[in-house]
Structures are given as C-alpha cells and as structure tokens.
C-alpha cells in the first residue's frame, strides 16, 4: 500500500488563540501574552504555546477518526517558535503499516519559514469491528 496525503489546512495564529489556549490548558506562562516579559527572555515578542501547535494537529486526524482509526501514539519535536499573526500550514502523510495500522508523519510550518516549526509522527490503529 502506498502512502497518502491527508488534507492539509492553514491557520493564522491570533492573540485570541493564545489566550483561549492558556485558559483551556492552564498554561499561563507570561511569554504567551506579555510582550515585555517575552522580550526580557530574549524572544522577539509573544510566542505561541508549542502545545497549541501540537493540539491543532488534531484537525488533520478527523478523516481517520471517521474511518474508525484511533490514535495510539503521537510524538513531536518543537523546532522553531511561532508568533501570533503568522500563517501556519499543518500537513501530514499517512503510510499504511500492516492491515490496520497507519504511521503518519506530521509537519507544522509557518509560511514565512523555510523549515518546520514542529515535526513528528503519529500511529493510528483501527480495531476490528467486533472489538469496537
């Protein structure tokens, strides 16, 4: 079976995303909302939570969930910062590994950047119907 590309999507990360993610996750590190604090730590300004980018990857997985796949494992490496206002492309390629398993490679990349902000992989498994 050959690898196939999952439908990618593009999102412009806003201040509102950061604030809502902070509230929902409980991560209130000021580098995600206070420009002065962010600059004091050598950052160019407020940056998005790495976990926000990782969380947004789940948009890619909806078609797999609809086919009965369940996420077994997801792992990512945070490579570059993302700042609010940046437009970011989320993409993934699925590689069938055995009858009911997919290995999916993941990429989050700002349109301004020449390398990924986040890269990683996820493993999905589709249980046989009778065990679901």
């Amino acid at each position: 079976m050959t690898p196939f590309v999952l439908p990618s999507f593009t999102k412009t990360i806003s201040q509102e995303h950061l604030i809502r993610y902070a509230a929902a996750s409980g991560d209130f590190n000021p580098i995600h909302y206070d420009t002065e604090t962010a600059k004091r730590f050598g950052l160019p300004g407020v940056i998005a939570h790495g976990m926000l980018s990782m969380g947004l990857l789940d948009h890619l997985f909806a078609p797999l969930y609809d086919q009965g796949y369940r996420l077994q494992e997801i792992s990512v490496r945070f490579r570059q910062i993302i700042r609010p206002g940046e437009t970011v492309v989320f993409s993934a390629t699925a590689d069938p590994a055995g009858k009911n398993t997919l290995k999916v490679s993941l990429c989050v990349q700002s349109q301004l950047a020449n390398k990924p902000a986040v890269s990683g992989q996820a493993i999905f498994f589709r249980p046989d119907r009778q065990s679901r």
Partner: protein, 149 residues
C-alpha cells in the same frame, strides 16, 4: 539545585483528576476542533465511546504533584519534545490518577535535558496514557535566550 543522576527514577505522589465534560469541551473549542465526540455524548456513544472524549493533547493539562528534590525554574525552560501514548481515550466521568517520574536526566554544558514521564491510570489501576516531555533547562540564568513554549 543539584542536577545529579540520583534524581532519575524519582516520582511525585499520585494526584487524582476528575474528568468533566465542560473541561473537555473548553479544550476542544480553544483548538477550534469540530470532531463531535469531543462535545456530544450521543455522537461519542455511536462512535463506540462511553461518553465524550478528550482531544489527544488534553493529557498535558492533568498536572502532577511535585517530584521531591526537583525545582524547575520559572523561566528559561524550553519544551523540546512531547509524546503521548494512549491505551484508550480519556473520557468524561473518568477518575485519572497521575504520577510523574524523572525518566532521564543529562547535563550537557549549561543545559540539562530532562525527560519527565507522566502515567495516567483509571480507578481499576489500568494505564490510560503515558506522556513524555523533554524539557531543556538553561542553567545559565544570565542569558535567557528562550523560554518554555
């Protein structure tokens, strides 16, 4: 604090989290997710779940108690890598007990590479998820080039 290898294997005391539908919904909405089993108990049941389920990265919000002897600085930490593995999705109504342990610790120059492993178990003691976070702690407190993502 002293970053010695003696810290490897040290764990927090267990902490129990009650999983509420509202928290799952708030988390899914913050990520603008539309998959119905995150919101709708009926859709969750027809997809084979007991109740609404958590998006995969929700486990990061199930914080652990402190690990004795581990003092993380408030800033100057980079979140380098994150992994979750699931036996089953976290589901509304669950009671999940989390324990966090220091799995790996490596000092390299002015940086410490710390892998924290968090295990979540249900009331039967079965493993629900394992989360691993690689944190890079910058010991050079003068130059905070980056901070936690």
């Amino acid at each position: 604090m002293e970053w010695s290898n003696d810290l490897i294997g040290r764990c927090s005391a267990p902490k129990t989290h009650h999983i509420h539908r509202g928290a799952l919904e708030q988390f899914a909405r913050a990520l603008e997710l539309h998959y119905l089993p995150y919101f709708d108990p009926e859709a969750a049941k027809s997809a084979g779940f007991r109740d609404v389920i958590a998006p995969p990265t929700f486990a990061i919000t199930l914080t652990a108690n402190e690990i004795p002897g581990l003092e993380l600085p408030g800033a100057g930490i980079i979140h380098g890598e994150q992994q979750f593995s699931y036996h089953e999705p976290i589901t509304a109504g669950d009671e999940i007990q989390v324990v966090q342990c220091i799995e790996k610790l490596k000092a390299r120059g002015a940086a410490v590479f710390l892998t924290l492993k968090t295990t979540g178990r249900n009331t039967q003691g079965d493993e629900v998820f394992v989360s691993r976070s690689l944190l890079i702690v910058n010991l050079d407190s003068v130059s905070h080039k980056e901070s936690a993502q």
